[in-house]
Symmetry: none
Subunit: 466 residues, 2 copies
């Protein structure tokens, strides 16, 4: 022992313990450095140990738990029920849990993984070396494994014995002696088969499975695509290491969709519900894109400034800025969001680029013609009679027809440009391994703004001549 | 396509087909997941397609039939005689048949209704009466119902007898003599209970259920929230009429999220995958909002025109139009999209309006201050030195500091306005029973543009004086 100087002594604590002054004892322990509290608890009689531990506040218990020596910890895990252990585990820092798990016998690891909340489990799995957002990080290691040579009644007997502990008992997997995945047996089939049929005969060898390093969204989409209750997860040698259940898949897909939606709206993804995200945290998630996009608008400013003299003469041109830019942004946003969603659902891949481009450009042409015609008619029939009346009367040199023409030709060309940008950016992002969801309306709008303004002034310069 | 790991390939099947080894081919197809078998059949030559289909076992044929894409299915219905079609239709689950009928031309519907057995026809008619997107329209009427007075072994016997026909056999529901829902028994519990225990003793009386007229998204979210394999659906008298299974919930949530995402991007929702939506159809889904939003921009045009003389003198003010409008649109879009998603996940409701407003306005203030400060510094330090250089040299009357001030004050106030609009519109839409998803970035942007331009010119008029 180190020769430590302290303002308190174990003797005081032991006195309180012996006098059964538990309230005072707990208050004292609460104020101790956790390592000291752990040492104190380790020093007391083994029968008192779990009793005292149970009385501790949850967070204190977790901190002390992390500091206990491995033997004492295992003793405690064996002495506590799942209900007592669960809050403590969920209070523990995940790295502590992982450190702890790495030193533990396999059976105990399994029990702890089962008690942990899904979030804790995801984190533990991730810490245990599976990449973030991988199938490995969301899987559970609780599954039913059978051997080919078992009979159905032996299998049912095994399931009865251990099944209630398992997260799902409705699907069992068949593995060989190297633990390689060989087949799947739905419980339904097992129940209705004759008692002495061999598992190897009734199992289905066509198993859809995922690898630990697969994206968690991919395996969740496979569960959805194949209407599965669970998907087995294997390592590189195809050895069964876990499974992802349909309820976890639902959570994964909800979170992935929320993340996509947030990214599409220029927000950094949060993983907390709206009401539980604080003001500063919300600000931190929203300000980076707002700043970046605001600063990118420097380019549009520069283009406008470049044509400043022309604007001085034809100020009416600026009246169409918002319409042109919003329409371009909306048209590009429609395409990019459609493509982002189709990529995320696995309906298309960057390999389909030429078919997608052909389709998008045809649609863009149709939209461009429609919008261009409507805008021309609207400017001639409405704007010059009502909203732009003051301008036509103000005596500044201009030509109504020329302006209507400039605006409508700009619309005609800007829709294909917007839809092209909206097609190429998400597909390109996917191709280079970025999240395509970032390439949605806000980002597209900024780029499309630049192109449209440039186009607008170029056309105006030719038609009106400045 | 999904990154799928499978233990089989289409090449083997095509080889068997080309070698005319039909028996082997049928055996292989029999073991495939129906959706893969459907994709395989869709990929083969059209003339082989009905031939191969006729050779399939009835129940396999029905499962594959349910997974075919609508065009292929209609082709097949036209190619088969009533006698060939009838057993397939009667093997189909009623909810699949109803989904199919909803997409079919009238003549074909009549033919199918004629072939169907009277019982099936009656059920189809009942399903067709449930409102679109209701729980009733997605539920299956195939479920396991037990009585309280049964013993576990009687229940298992009943499940063995009819269970394989049912879409799910993993949850059974307990009903009384009036068919009113009384409890739920997971098969797991049934298996591990003693054979002569009564169902009434082991059932769980706390059943989560939905009504036929509930929104399909609501019941799907309940399945996700409670980690259920299925949710029972009852009528107004709480009589059990069907159930929605977790795989249907996955489909519902995928479609609902896709619809939300489309609406948020100003697209009318399609229910077809991207690659199967034709050019005209895509145009029809995209053009209405583009037109509407384009025409709404008439108001921004009018505001700008109103200040036309000022713009003639201070053309530099227009250089900040895109930045101001995009930033406002992005800020409002972030808020509206966050709120739309939280509403859709049931995290918030219009009743929380004051807490939401307080939070959003605090965040808006923080964002406004940050963006305003950055834009002021950027204009002074960068814009006037580089991008706006030509302007300051052009001799037009102006005051750099005043302009930087006008722009940054506009930013400061426009962020809270944008976030206010982004909060109120989706909450208001929800309150009056509209889909809040329509109130996303494109719509918000148009409204926010008007407010910001008005603000910008008002501030400019005071500071610069025109």
């Amino acid at each position: 022992m180190l020769n430590e100087n302290k303002t308190y002594s174990y003797e005081d604590l032991i006195f309180l313990l012996e006098q059964k002054k538990y309230t005072d004892l707990m208050r004292r322990i609460d104020t101790l450095p956790p390592i000291d509290a752990a040492n104190f608890l380790t020093s007391i009689d083994g029968t008192y140990f779990p009793i005292v531990f149970r009385l501790l506040k949850k967070d204190t218990a977790a901190k002390i738990f992390a500091e206990l020596d491995p033997d004492r910890r295992e003793e405690l895990i064996n002495g506590l029920t799942d209900r007592e252990l669960s809050p403590i585990l969920n209070e523990l820092f995940v790295d502590d849990t992982v450190d702890m798990l790495e030193e533990m016998p396999a059976g105990m690891v399994t029990r702890i993984m089962k008690i942990a909340s899904p979030e804790t489990r995801a984190e533990i799995n991730r810490f245990l070396a599976y990449p973030i957002d991988s199938a490995g990080s969301v899987m559970t290691s609780e599954f039913l494994d059978l051997k080919r040579s078992m009979t159905c009644s032996e299998a049912i007997e095994k399931i009865r014995r251990i099944g209630l502990e398992k997260e799902t008992v409705y699907v069992a997997y068949v593995i060989n002696s190297e633990r390689v995945l060989e087949g799947v047996v739905p419980l339904k089939k097992l129940l209705f088969a004759s008692a002495d049929a061999k598992i190897g005969e009734i199992m289905d060898q066509n198993v859809v499975f995922g690898y630990t390093h697969d994206d968690r969204e991919t395996v969740a989409r496979m569960i959805s695509h194949y209407d599965l209750l669970a998907i087995p997860i294997v390592d590189k040698e195809r050895r069964l290491v876990g499974l992802v259940t349909v309820d976890d898949a639902l959570d994964v897909l909800r979170d992935e969709d929320t993340e996509d939606i947030e990214r599409m709206a220029a927000i950094l993804p949060t993983d907390k519900p709206y009401m539980r995200t604080g003001i500063w945290e919300t600000w931190k998630k929203r300000i980076p894109w707002l700043l970046l996009l605001m600063i990118s608008a420097t380019f549009t400013g520069a283009i406008i400034t470049h044509y400043e003299t022309a604007i001085g003469k034809y100020a009416i041109l600026t009246a169409f800025f918002p319409m042109l830019m919003d329409t371009g942004g909306n048209a590009g946003g429609q395409t990019s969001v459609t493509i982002i969603r189709a990529l995320s659902l696995g309906e298309i891949s960057p390999r389909d680029i030429f078919r997608i481009l052909r389709k998008e450009l045809c649609v863009a042409l149709l939209c461009g013609i429609t919008l261009s015609a409507v805008t021309f008619l609207k400017i001639m029939a409405i704007d010059f009679r009502f909203t732009l009346q003051s301008v036509t009367e103000s005596g500044i040199v201009q030509n109504n027809l020329a302006i209507a023409l400039v605006v409508s030709v700009t619309v005609l060309f800007s829709i294909p440009i917007a839809k092209l940008v909206g097609t190429l950016l998400p597909l390109g992002a996917k191709k280079i391994g970025m999240d395509p969801a970032v390439m949605a309306s806000p980002f597209i709008t900024t780029i499309v703004d630049i192109a449209i303004l440039f186009l607008y002034f170029s056309i105006a310069a030719r038609v009106i001549g400045f």
